[in-house]
């Protein structure tokens, strides 16, 4: 009996061991799950943070209006050549500005208010319109519908970004008394007390900001506010309209002097929006325009094209070189001290900071070889050097994973070494090689530092046509947009990041597709 229990599988000691092992097992699994949860939540946080910031840049407020293309302004002296019309930005701008003046007659009284109204639309915003007319001169003399982006500050205000305003609906005005000086008085509206309390809450009782009262297309400023009465100054529109429409109070806590747009400009913006002339449309110029100093006109097209050109140069240099180097080292090179040294150096090269490659590019490619500054060809070469070790290492690993029996099989039927490698080993290693290459390319696509050093940070207003033109790249554009001071750049930067990330995702999808398509089992 005693002997039986000795050889039993279930003893207290064995149970203790089992319990310990199961606990260790569970702990290990828990660590793994925790790590994955942490990684996933970090990723989600990143996507949400960028996504919410970029969201407001997906749309844009434009001034949509019908304009008669007056031949005297658009093509003075009857000059209708494409270049002449495109150059005549001033004429088109005058058309748009005059349209605004006719929309808001009150602005024409003083030079200052004319100036203020003109600021609603940037002078350069008419450039696409000018180009459109230049390519199709028959439009001259006709009335066409145009869309011009509003200035970035107004755009930001209308999207509810900055300056922040709080709206309070206060119903119909009831009665508005006007006096001879154009001052008006609004009394006994139940909503006024709500405005007063909201305002004192927002401004902590200091009343330094502005309160605008809007009804229909009319906007007035409240000069003095008490719970039962308010004194108004008309900014745009008529008092009759104000008296008849349901009123909305816009409380803007930020004092007028501290914000880029005045009460008057806000009033015009509100009126334009009410009239349906200021519309929120898809922000296509983000990918069809090149860079600009004005955020409402800026786009990423030049940077995308620059990035693609750079990637093309990188791919043409790094992928064949990396693959051939890997094939030689793995399949043909003798194993000796020299190849060992080369191997160690390739591995070390993969760990060199990217900015060092930038310095090399600046001194060697720009300095010694005199290649053009800021050009994708130089950027591409530098990035190719940067990812070459990665491509070589990935390709070698992929070649090593091909079983040697395939090589022997090919050699045994009389294939030469070259034939064995090119007919059998390479096709099997190809998916892994492409994966390595594209992952390397993805790294290159996101590199900023080396490009800064070779001058690809220049302001580029033209889409580069070849690899030797001046260009910039997406990550560099993001870097320079992020360092701009204006608030409107923040969503633009986030949107550019989203574009960059989408390109990376596309590349990774291509990797997955290639793997699935060409992977062979043996």
């Amino acid at each position: 009996m005693n002997k039986m229990s000795d050889s039993s599988l279930i003893t207290p000691k064995a149970l203790k061991h089992l319990k310990k092992r199961r606990a260790a097992d569970a702990r290990f699994r828990l660590y793994g799950i925790a790590a994955i949860v942490f990684a996933l939540s970090a990723l989600t946080l990143l996507v949400i943070a960028i996504g919410t910031r970029a969201y407001s840049a997906t749309t844009q407020y434009v001034l949509q209006t019908e304009i008669m293309l007056d031949a005297d302004l658009v093509a003075p002296e009857g000059e209708t050549s494409e270049a002449e019309i495109t150059r005549n930005i001033e004429g088109f701008y005058t058309l748009v500005r005059d349209k605004l003046f006719s929309e808001f007659p009150e602005s024409t009284q003083t030079q200052a208010s004319r100036q203020e109204l003109s600021e609603l639309v940037n002078r350069l915003a008419v450039l696409p319109l000018a180009k459109r007319v230049a390519t199709n001169p028959t439009l001259i003399g006709k009335t066409i519908q145009v869309r011009v982006p509003l200035s970035d500050d107004l755009d930001l205000y209308l999207k509810g970004g900055s300056p922040k305003d709080v709206t309070v609906r206060i119903g119909s005005a009831g009665k508005i008394e006007t006096d001879a000086e154009g001052k008006a008085r609004l009394s006994s509206t139940s909503g006024l007390s709500k405005v007063t309390s909201t305002r004192s809450l927002l401004e902590e009782g200091k009343a330094t900001g502005s309160v605008l009262l809007a009804g229909g297309e009319t906007v007035a400023r409240i000069d003095s506010l008490s719970p039962d009465a308010a004194e108004l100054t008309l900014l745009t529109g008529t008092f009759e309209q104000l008296a008849n429409e349901p009123l909305v109070a816009h409380i803007i806590p930020l004092p007028e002097a501290e914000r880029p747009i005045s009460d008057q400009q806000i009033a015009w913006a509100i009126a334009l929006k009410q009239a349906g002339n200021a519309r929120r449309v898809l922000h296509t110029s983000l990918v069809t325009h090149t860079d600009s100093t004005y955020p409402e006109l800026a786009g990423t097209l030049a940077a995308i094209v620059g990035s693609l050109l750079t990637m093309m140069v990188t791919a043409c240099v790094a992928i064949p070189m990396g693959i051939f180097a890997a094939v030689y080292l793995e399949e043909f090179a003798p194993r000796n001290r020299l190849t060992n040294l080369i191997e160690v150096n390739i591995n070390n090269l993969a760990a060199v900071p990217s900015i060092v490659f930038g310095l090399l590019g600046a001194s060697l490619l720009l300095g010694t070889f005199g290649l053009p500054r800021s050009a994708p060809i130089v950027g591409g070469l530098v990035l190719a050097l940067l990812i070459l070790p990665v491509v070589i290492i990935a390709s070698r690993a992929s070649l090593r994973s091909v079983p040697p029996s395939i090589r022997s099989g090919a050699l045994a039927v009389g294939a030469s070494r070259m034939q064995a490698v090119f007919h059998h080993v390479l096709p099997l290693a190809a998916p892994g090689m492409f994966t390595g290459a594209i992952l390397g390319m993805a790294r290159a696509l996101g590199e900023t530092a080396p490009l800064l050093l070779i001058g690809m940070v220049a302001f580029v207003a033209e889409v580069p046509k070849s690899a030797t033109d001046e260009a910039t790249a997406l990550p560099v554009l993001i870097y320079s947009w992020a360092s701009n001071a204006e608030r409107a750049w923040e969503p633009m930067t986030a949107a550019a990041i989203v574009i960059l990330l989408s390109l990376l995702v596309i590349m990774n999808v291509v990797v997955v597709f290639l793997r699935r398509r060409f992977e062979r089992r043996w």
Binding site: A412, R417, R521
Partner: protein
């Protein structure tokens, strides 16, 4: 690249010429003082033996005795191993195939090889067979190639099983079928000699029996050298047997004689299972 086929040499013997009437004992390969070194370590010591045509020669011996290494000398596969060095003379048709002037690629098209583990290319069954004839430029038309593929598969006893699925990957076949595919692949380049390195060690008994039948069938056309761990297999399929021990050739003779009346004590000990 190297598309020089055996048909273009003056020694174009295809192993299937019906007009050749060599006697069973005619030595096709004559090895003299063959030694193999891996770097500084000697693996095969001064082996001299003759391999006869239209016969199966079995190389037996315990693991690590150098039989596989010796086999790989016969088609210069040792060249592909870094640090391996082969000395001595191996005469085939009066030519020393160990001479540096001999093109190993050309040699391998005349001395086929089948490996321990079936290693079909991850391509279709058809392409597995067609690869050799293609790279050697042995066929001019698609019809010729189809004929070669069919003939090779028939000789390897695989045709009936795969004729309807030639486009499927070779790796989709069973282990035994894969090994017969590899034999067909070797036959397709019309070799004179077929080397087999433990061709059945990864197969089950039924597949093994199938391969053994095949080897017996192929013996009528080719000179076959087989390395095996199984003494029963050597006894069943071979006409001549060479016993290796610690890199030395201990004894060589007719299979009946080796198994029933070995001259050497070591051979007897090994065959009776006293070591190995």
């Amino acid at each position: 690249m190297d598309t020089v086929g055996p048909a273009k040499t003056d020694l174009a013997l295809t192993g299937e010429g019906a007009d050749k009437t060599q006697a069973l004992t005619y030595p096709r390969i004559d090895c003299r003082n063959v030694s193999v070194y891996y770097d500084d370590k000697q693996a095969v010591f001064d082996v001299s033996l003759a391999i006869h045509d239209r016969a199966v020669t079995a190389l037996i011996g315990p693991s690590g005795c150098g039989k596989s290494t010796f086999l790989r000398c016969l088609n210069r596969m040792n060249d592909t191993i870094e640090g391996a060095k082969v000395t001595g003379d191996i005469f085939m048709e009066g030519e020393n195939i160990n001479s540096p002037d001999v093109d190993p690629v050309l040699l391998r098209s005349r001395v086929g090889m089948v490996f321990q583990k079936p290693n079909p290319f991850p391509k279709s069954i058809y392409d597995n067979i067609a690869y050799g004839p293609r790279i050697h430029g042995m066929v001019d038309s698609r019809e010729d190639l189809d004929a070669v593929v069919e003939k090779s598969l028939r000789r390897a006893g695989l045709w009936e099983e795969v004729k309807d699925r030639l486009t499927q990957p070779g790796t989709s076949l069973s282990g035994g079928q894969q090994q017969r595919l590899c034999i067909a692949r070797a036959i397709a380049v019309r070799p004179e000699v077929i080397l087999m390195d433990e061709p059945c060690s990864a197969l089950d008994p039924i597949a093994t029996a199938r391969i053994e039948e095949l080897i017996d069938e192929l013996r009528k056309r080719y000179c076959i050298v087989i390395v095996t761990h199984s003494m029963q297999q050597a006894a069943r399929v071979s006409q001549r047997t060479a016993f290796f021990h610690l890199g030395n050739l201990v004894e060589m003779g007719d299979t009946d004689q080796i198994f029933t009346n070995p001259r050497e004590r070591r051979t007897e000990d090994y065959i009776t299972g006293r070591f190995g």
